[in-house]
């Protein structure tokens, strides 16, 4: 049963790697569906990671409860992400600037600013929290054969929050007037305007939601597997993987759940490859590049049918 033990060690880890990506991709979904191309998911997630690291670190060092500190860190991450996303929204919506450039500027701003603040706060480029979230087995459910060990063993509580957000987003987008309007903004904004709806407002909401969710994604990275804000590697292009997952998932909630999980598995292989017997012979470098090459291949495969919102990236 060696295969089974490999699977039970990969899947829970893959789920942990999936959640930040899922939040980033879902954030991107809100933004692009509202009609704003958002290439700054990376920067927003990085900011979230940094903000949660700082708040959690400061509170934990001050002796405030570990878990409370983590919760406050997550809230701070979401607020920081939202705050930074407003900059993108302003450039994209009000000033009608090139959204790709604005997104890139915000990515760079996030990198530089977090590093600047980290230097000021800790004196080194890194902010490490004392303790992240403890993984827990879910009572009863973890005893179910097969899916128990895969889905309900050694889970982070943030995973369930992320999944809940995914479910709520599905409902919001497809069952409510808000979702109808938001999706319409990404396809035909002038139709929305002629129906008496404020397109700019809808787009601001879309972009800010992407900030909140990407911030949360960044906090998940910190509170689950990373445990620190690291200035040299940042978040290793995870934000761009999230965008790739959004494209691969055809801008649909179910699609991005599947594609982020696929990338989550790739990340697991890259990071845990050395401890999994099957991959032991492969050099670290080649394991490391695996998720990125897999992404490129995935993008090539999904290139033929693009379901991108028509008006995404078009100023209104």
């Amino acid at each position: 049963m060696e295969v089974w033990s490999v699977i039970t060690s990969i899947i829970p880890a893959a789920i942990a790697y999936t959640m930040p990506l899922l939040m980033g991709a879902l954030g991107g979904l809100y933004s692009e569906r509202s009609g704003v191309t958002n290439l700054c998911i990376e920067g927003l997630m990085l900011t979230g990671c940094f903000a949660s690291a700082t708040v959690t670190y400061l509170m934990q060092s001050a002796g405030i409860g570990y878990n409370l500190a983590i919760v406050c860190g997550i809230v701070a991450a979401m607020l920081a992400g939202a705050l930074l996303s407003v900059l993108h929204a302003f450039a994209a919506i009000n000033l009608k600037s090139n959204q790709v450039i604005s997104g890139t500027a915000i990515n760079m701003l996030a990198t530089a600013l977090t590093l600047f603040l980290a230097q000021t706060i800790t004196g080194s480029g890194n902010v490490t929290v004392l303790r992240g979230i403890i993984r827990q087995d879910i009572p009863l459910l973890s005893k179910i054969p097969i899916i128990g060990p895969l889905l309900f063993t050694r889970t982070y509580w943030t995973t369930w929050i992320c999944l809940l957000i995914w479910v709520v987003s599905f409902f919001l987008l497809y069952k409510t007037s808000f979702g109808l309007r938001l999706r319409a903004c990404g396809e035909h904004p002038s139709a929305v305007a002629s129906a008496g709806i404020n397109v700019h407002k809808m787009r601001y909401i879309g972009v800010i939601l992407s900030g909140l969710l990407s911030g949360l994604g960044g906090a998940c990275i910190l509170a689950t597997y990373a445990g620190e804000y690291n200035s040299t590697s940042g978040i290793n292009g995870l934000g761009f993987l999230a965008i790739a997952a959004l494209i691969f998932g055809q801008w649909k909630p179910l699609g991005i759940l599947a594609s982020t999980f696929f990338f989550g598995i790739c990340m697991t292989i890259a990071n845990m490859g050395r401890v999994i017997p099957v991959f032991q012979g492969i050099p670290t470098g080649y394991l490391g590049l695996f998720p990125y090459v897999a992404t490129l291949i995935a993008l090539v495969l999904s290139s033929k049918k693009s379901a991108a919102p028509i008006a995404s990236g078009e100023p209104f």
Binding site: K175, T176, S177, F178, L180, R181, R183, A184, E187, H188, S190, A191, V192, A193, S194, A195, G196, I197, I310
Partner: protein, 507 residues
């Protein structure tokens, strides 16, 4: 008489242009009131002000006698004003019902079932026959327009604005629309019809407000005023819409299309088994409603789209799979449908735009190095010959020119390249009468010089005025090809709806 709408002394200025200058409009309850004016006369601006999309700089709006401030479409809806836009405001991948309720969903979690029921009721009452579960991109243009009408009725509008509603319809669909408008008026709705087509006004309207260059010219009673008089008021001088041309002197075949099949963007056949030949010295017009395969046909001819099967011959040589550049060099000129998207590089100066197809040839470049002197000389020649007016001559970025001058620049470029065949797609769309006359003359001149011209237009008048022969397209097929002198608009209209002559006689 009670005025349901009064717009008094409306003025609206945009940077560099006064779109509306002291315009007054009075619409009576239950009437169909036309607003007539050329493209760019300020009709749409006036209606956008009434609909809350723009704000007037000066002037008063009264609805049912009460002065109102309309600052957004929502205010307009609340006053019972609805608008059918020229470019449909429909989300292509939403259903009919979703499009109709957008903005008036009735609750955060909306109930699409009860909305559909209400839509069906309204649709039945006015005879619109719409299935509310269909997705917009799968229904015909005529049906899309009825969805737009339903959108207004769903919002209980009783003042309905129609902005150039017939531009995309077949003659038969136009008749149906006119009937729908009469039904609506009979139910007590007041209708404002914006158009530059006189026969429509003659058909349905009671009174007509005429605007020219942003100014109110006159309000006339439609029954007692002739179409010619209205046209003269619209343009400012008597006009004849007939193009003067002699009998065609046709020569040998230039373009021959054999059993052509072309895929459209949805990967299904957009052009089906299409065969046609065009000879020197004639203008062949392709009539048909937008979206019946004309764009795909033209793109296949010009090399922009791959041919699925069939052959294209140009002066006897097969060009089915030739590159665009090869076709250009053989003498195929093309005035594209969308002048701003395809026809010009808007940020680039005119001189660049003029040599966009020729820059790699001598004398414009030698061994890969551009010769700006020659390029500019050539540019000067075109703007003088074709009277292209711009701020800074050949240095003006193409985007700074007016629509008419942009089109003249494209036509100048294509004609100056001395093509054997000129494909002109919608060459006068959105232009004023002066520019239209100029362009029509140029096309006829090409024909008289022994060139072949393929004209694609959605305006039947234009097709009839210019063409020697008319090929009618429906759903990607060639329905029939007829001599202009042997047919009339009614017959062509039926063919545009897909009904062939023989079939008709059987009915």
């Amino acid at each position: 008489m009670s005025h349901v709408i009064e717009m008094i002394g409306i003025r609206k200025e945009f940077p560099g242009i006064v779109a509306n200058d002291d315009i007054t409009l009075q619409v009576e309850e239950g009437e169909i009131h036309a607003i007539l004016g050329e493209n760019g006369a300020g009709k749409s601006t006036l209606m956008s002000i009434l609909f809350g999309l723009y704000h007037a700089d000066k002037g008063v709006i009264k609805v049912r006698g009460k002065e109102v401030h309309i600052s957004s479409p929502n205010d307009a809806f609340d006053l019972g004003i609805g608008m059918v836009h020229q470019h449909f405001q429909l989300v292509h991948n939403f259903t009919v019902a979703e499009n109709i309720i957008l903005g008036k969903e009735g609750g955060f979690v909306y109930d699409i079932k009860s909305a559909s029921k209400k839509i069906k009721e309204i649709s039945d009452r006015y005879g619109l026959s719409i299935d509310s579960d269909m997705v917009i991109e799968e229904i015909t243009v005529g049906m899309q327009q009825r969805v737009e009408i339903l959108k207004m009725l769903y919002r209980d509008a009783d003042i309905l604005i129609f902005d150039e509603p017939t531009a995309v319809l077949t003659p038969q669909e136009i008749d149906e629309l006119m009937q729908i408008m009469r039904n609506l008026a009979a139910e007590g709705k007041s209708i404002i019809l914006i158009t530059h087509k006189l026969d429509e006004i003659k058909a349905v309207a009671e009174r007509c407000t005429i605007i020219r260059r942003g100014k109110l010219i006159d309000v006339v009673d439609v029954k007692s005023t002739s179409a010619e008089d209205m046209a003269a008021l619209m343009v400012g001088h008597p006009v004849s819409f007939k193009v003067e041309k002699d009998e065609a002197k046709v020569g040998e075949t230039v373009l021959e299309i054999k059993n052509l099949n072309v895929l459209n963007n949805k990967k299904v056949l957009g052009v089906k088994d299409f065969s046609l030949s065009i000879r020197r010295g004639e203008i062949v017009g392709i009539a048909g409603v937008d979206g019946n395969g004309q764009s795909e046909l033209v793109e296949a001819l010009s090399g922009l789209r791959k041919v699925e099967s069939g052959e294209i011959y140009f002066n006897g040589k097969e060009i089915t799979n030739s590159s665009i550049q090869e076709r250009n060099e053989m003498g195929l000129g093309h005035i594209p449908e969308d002048r701003q998207k395809r026809g010009l590089i808007l940020p680039a100066p005119l001189s660049t735009n003029f040599v966009i197809k020729e820059f790699y040839k001598e004398p414009y470049s030698r061994r890969g190095i551009l010769n700006f002197g020659k390029i500019e000389e050539y540019g000067e020649k075109i703007i003088n010959k074709f009277d292209v007016r711009s701020g800074e001559g050949i240095q003006s970025p193409a985007g700074t020119l007016s629509g008419g001058n942009q089109q003249k620049a494209i036509i100048g470029r294509e004609i100056e390249a001395d093509p054997e065949l000129l494909i002109a797609v919608q060459p006068t769309r959105g232009l004023d009468v002066g520019a239209i006359e100029f362009i029509h003359k140029e096309l006829v001149k090409e024909r008289d010089n022994g060139k072949a011209v393929l004209l694609v237009s959605f305006e039947l008048d234009e097709i009839f005025n210019l063409s020697d022969r008319i090929a009618v397209m429906n759903a990607g097929r060639l329905i029939d090809i007829v001599y202009t002198k042997d047919t009339d608009e009614h017959a062509v209209g039926l063919m545009m709806a897909g009904i062939k002559k023989e079939e008709r006689s059987e009915v």
